[in-house]
Symmetry: C2
Subunit: 597 residues, 2 copies
């Protein structure tokens, strides 16, 4: 049976010591919460994830969801009770607006809770996760009446949400969408079409399901400029807002898939379903994309979350499993063999995971704090800088945390040897579940293109220059500090690699755009390494300061310095290979005709 302990102390160290979140006391969401309250909320959330959600993870995987003859869908045993408990405790509306029934807490806390929930039970976490996404889209784009109808019910968890983008012939290229919306004359539309891969599309957890659907209003322009966003409730609310008549939308089938079996991935059929326009006509894609940053950050967190829980289980196995003897002599002479954690190659796998998880969590929290600033700061300049950061870092977090997170689940499984391949230990489920995060919410190749093609050049490179300045200022500030040298020297080198790659794009991708495409994934990972390296720099500085001040847990802080140095020595140098690949350009990549493959 897999184990999971939510890393509450890690989070508090990052929030309080590394990022000094207290300085955001000017934000409304932070005004209500004292450090004590934050710690208490995190410990409660941890308990819920560990005690309620984690035990349902394997049930969810083995049992999956079931579609019945009447097209209704039931979730695995225990999901409904857990969901009700989650809703009643107020977790679903944690960061939602108090005016709409939310608790108005910092977005950052929601993000942390998200990690805990995703580690404990990723498939389960998608149900409230999608509701949060639908809430965010409606909060931004819906009419006041729509907000009053939907937001409180999404925040309470009474209703849940979905996002309907993909169709059988189009995923990435949403300009090809065929789902049709015909005005009914009463302000509503008749929606007809088929959507696929709809997570949480049908289930038994809530009294109603609020589908957000991209469709083309009859006669609209072709391509992305003719797409509008609609809200299509499963049950049409009556005048009092209670679920009423069944709408003409139903789950045609559940997809059989590699993992996240506890989540119902549906083919959704819209057979003239009644929907209402959200926001302006033909601006649907823009509306959908405003919620993308948050959704993509959420998926990046899933990558970290699976990496963390897989790591925790690998550590426990490596401490318990006796096999072979240490190269340096017996470590457990009273036992028939040493625990495998004595073997360097097992350590290598564990240290890779640990060094990634701790920096990735820092990157997520750093970015989530920017999101709180972007949402609530009265200072326009600070707000703008935070939005720049979010735009730039979101594709990096989504792409790098899910790629590396997946690789880490595979490495954690490897620690188990043959036992990792067997279902009962749960390790192979982490691998199968983590895999989807690299694909959905924009496949990682799309994240890389978003970074290189849109986020990098935007506003004359303002966001990138600001990020780069922060990193190099940090390197410069600590260049003369002998204790910090093992951190800032490699970080400085990696930053130079990033600069060199950026300059290469500027010089070579304008005339030949394929050069940007050819290097985009390498650039995303190069960027991610620098960002994670910077996080280790910040963590190391904090650990050194606290050790010097005689504060904190010496063992924990000392481990931070070792782990950070491991990252600098063994992971960060990968930036060199990325630069070389980027500079190889597109020539050999694009030279072959399609039939030569």
């Amino acid at each position: 049976m897999p184990v999971y302990t939510a890393p509450v102390d890690e989070v508090l160290f990052l929030l309080q010591d590394v990022f000094a979140y207290q300085r955001h006391g000017n934000l409304p969401s932070f005004q209500a919460v004292t450090p004590d309250v934050i710690a208490a909320i995190l410990r409660e959330g941890a308990k819920f994830a560990e005690d309620v959600l984690q035990p349902l993870n394997r049930v969810g995987d083995t049992q999956g969801c079931t579609r019945h003859a009447d097209a209704s869908v039931t979730t695995p045993d225990g999901f409904k009770a857990a969901y009700e408990q989650m809703a009643q405790a107020g977790w679903i509306g944690l960061v939602a607006d108090p005016d709409h029934g939310g608790q108005g807490l910092p977005y950052t806390l929601g993000v942390v809770l998200n990690e805990f929930v995703s580690s404990a039970n990723m498939a389960f976490g998608m149900y409230p996760g999608l509701s949060n996404g639908a809430y965010a889209a409606l909060a931004r784009h819906a009419s006041p009446e729509q907000k009053n109808l939907y937001l409180p019910r999404l925040a309470s968890g009474e209703w849940s949400g979905t996002m309907n983008l993909t169709e059988p012939h189009c995923g990435t290229d949403l300009g090809l969408i065929r789902t049709k919306a015909v005005p009914k004359g009463d302000g509503s539309y008749k929606i007809t079409g088929t959507k696929i891969f709809i997570s949480a599309g049908e289930h038994d957890l809530t009294g109603n399901i609020v589908h957000l659907v991209l469709a083309r209003i009859e006669g609209a322009e072709e391509g992305v400029k003719g797409i509008s966003l609609f809200v299509v409730p499963k049950l049409i609310p009556d005048a009092d807002g209670n679920p009423g008549a069944r709408n003409a939308v139903s789950c045609g089938a559940l997809e059989e898939k590699m993992g996240i079996h506890g989540n119902a991935t549906c083919v959704m059929n819209y057979d003239g379903a009644t929907g209402w326009l959200v926001g302006e006509p033909h601006k649907g894609l823009r509306a959908m994309f405003t919620m993308m940053n948050e959704a993509r950050l959420g998926v990046g967190i899933q990558g970290l979350a699976q990496s963390e829980v897989a790591y925790q289980n690998a550590v426990q196995y490596a401490r318990d499993r006796l096999q072979g003897r240490a190269l340096t002599g017996d470590k457990a002479p009273d036992k028939p063999a040493d625990p495998i954690i004595v073997h360097p190659d097992v350590r290598r796998m564990l240290m890779n995971q640990k060094a990634f998880n701790e920096a990735a969590r820092a990157l997520v929290i750093w970015t989530a704090l920017k999101a709180d600033v972007a949402r609530g700061s009265p200072d326009e300049a600070e707000k703008q800088a935070a939005e720049d950061h979010l735009g730039l870092l979101t594709p990096v977090i989504k792409g790098v945390l899910t790629d590396t997170g997946f690789a880490n689940t595979v490495a954690a499984q490897q620690v188990f040897g043959g036992h990792g391949y067997i279902a009962e230990h749960g390790m192979e489920q982490f691998v199968r579940d983590a895999r989807i995060a690299q694909i959905y919410e924009g496949a990682n190749g799309i994240q890389a293109l978003d970074l290189v093609g849109r986020k990098l050049p935007r506003d004359g490179g303002r966001a990138m220059m600001s990020f780069f300045k922060e990193v190099t200022d940090f390197v410069t500030a600590h260049a003369g500090n002998a204790d910090m040298k093992p951190f800032v020297e490699p970080l400085g080198k990696a930053a130079k690699d990033l600069e060199r790659a950026t300059m290469w794009f500027m010089a070579n991708a304008m005339a030949k755009p394929d050069n940007a495409g050819a290097g985009s994934t390498d650039y995303m990972h190069l960027f991610g390494l620098v960002a994670l390296g910077y996080m280790w720099g910040r963590i190391a500085k904090t650990a050194q300061d606290r050790l010097a001040a005689g504060e904190g847990d010496r063992g924990r802080l000392g481990a931070k310095l070792v782990t950070g140095r491991y990252f600098m020595q063994r992971i960060l140098p990968e930036t060199g290979a990325h630069v070389r690949r980027i500079e190889a350009g597109a020539d050999t990549m694009m030279a072959l005709p399609a039939d030569a493959f």
Copy 2:
């Protein structure tokens, strides 16, 4: 429905043009086969894999094996008929000794067929694969009577084989084996114990199953020096060699696992089963290990095989799927969108797979030819050199081809986007099946230790020096050739990285063995990159020679040169990151106490 076309022309190009297998005409196994016969055998084998085995791959995955109340096991629908067809066509005994009913064909042909079978249906291919392993062990270590009894029946496929090493508490560390053998006084032994993860342990394909079992004779020394090898038939053969009385061995359970569902992975219970000693007492591990090279090469081939079939499907999808437009302008203006193969990042994934598959296949065939030499050459020096090569390259092929092969199945799945996560396209099965190859037959970390700790220093580094000399001689020989410069220049640099890493181990691992363990996996991959790079050098030279001579298919040969340059530019430079990690040593890796994880 996934597609598969066995790469017969690729194999013939490698056999005939790159490695000029005709020069092995002195070997008995090659004397009987003309080039025409070889081509005909490969085309027949291809047809069998494509038409018979591949259509059963998904059935095998979805249906799996079933254990019945009487402990019998049935394989998925169609497996039995396919197995009988395979046996009747003589494929199972293809490379077995004609004196024992085999066809006596070159081992290399068996290896090629193995790739085709594993691409088409990896889980199925394990049944005859394990029989071949049991055949090899018995051919080497069994008594003449045992050989006469078992070898012809294994070669014909009438009976099948298994390997029983792992127990619940021991996998890698076989010194911990508890299964007990007590002499019965009639030359046989009573075997008692539990073995787990036994592939093909029980099934309905053959009239008998021949278990090779590691056990400790009562009173034997502890550790690996007290382990003996036994043959334990499921049905005890009568005086005529026909399956007789049921032995006290049975399948206690089937393991639920991540993939290879079509193969029965069994818990095998030996309840005082009758077994016969194979070879000398207490030398069982050595006997088992003599078949390891072949078995590990076979697993490496599984990595290549899954990479190849996943690649072929990704290519087809990338040609067919219309999504987005090329960065350089519309490529299919008459269609709603361009095929995704126009996008650089999709190309990147396909080219990575192609550049690996073609060189990996070369590496396998090069090494298989050495195995033929080692088996059959009358020249002792040539034989010794071939054995050196096999010893050195086997862990590299097992570790690198399965690690990279797995990564390639993941990349191929990624090309499909969301459709890759859905079971019906078969891509996620390739990922799940390929995953086991990194784990079984010695987890890849063990391969790396075998390479660094045993194969590298053996005989004063003779094998390594010989390999290194061959590579650097090639670089030197073509250094002045402008056409070869794009190949030998990067190869020379990579070889220098390998040399540097080797020297680093010599200087730093004697005094501190953890430094070898800490760098072993990086060293294995560094070695693999150099070996694959050398293969590309050989392929490129052959392609250039043939183009200059006006021979061969210009398109195919030209594509080789492009793909080889892609490898040199974008994959081979990873050697630099490996060296840097190796040189980082074990310090930060080993510094943390176990409870700091």
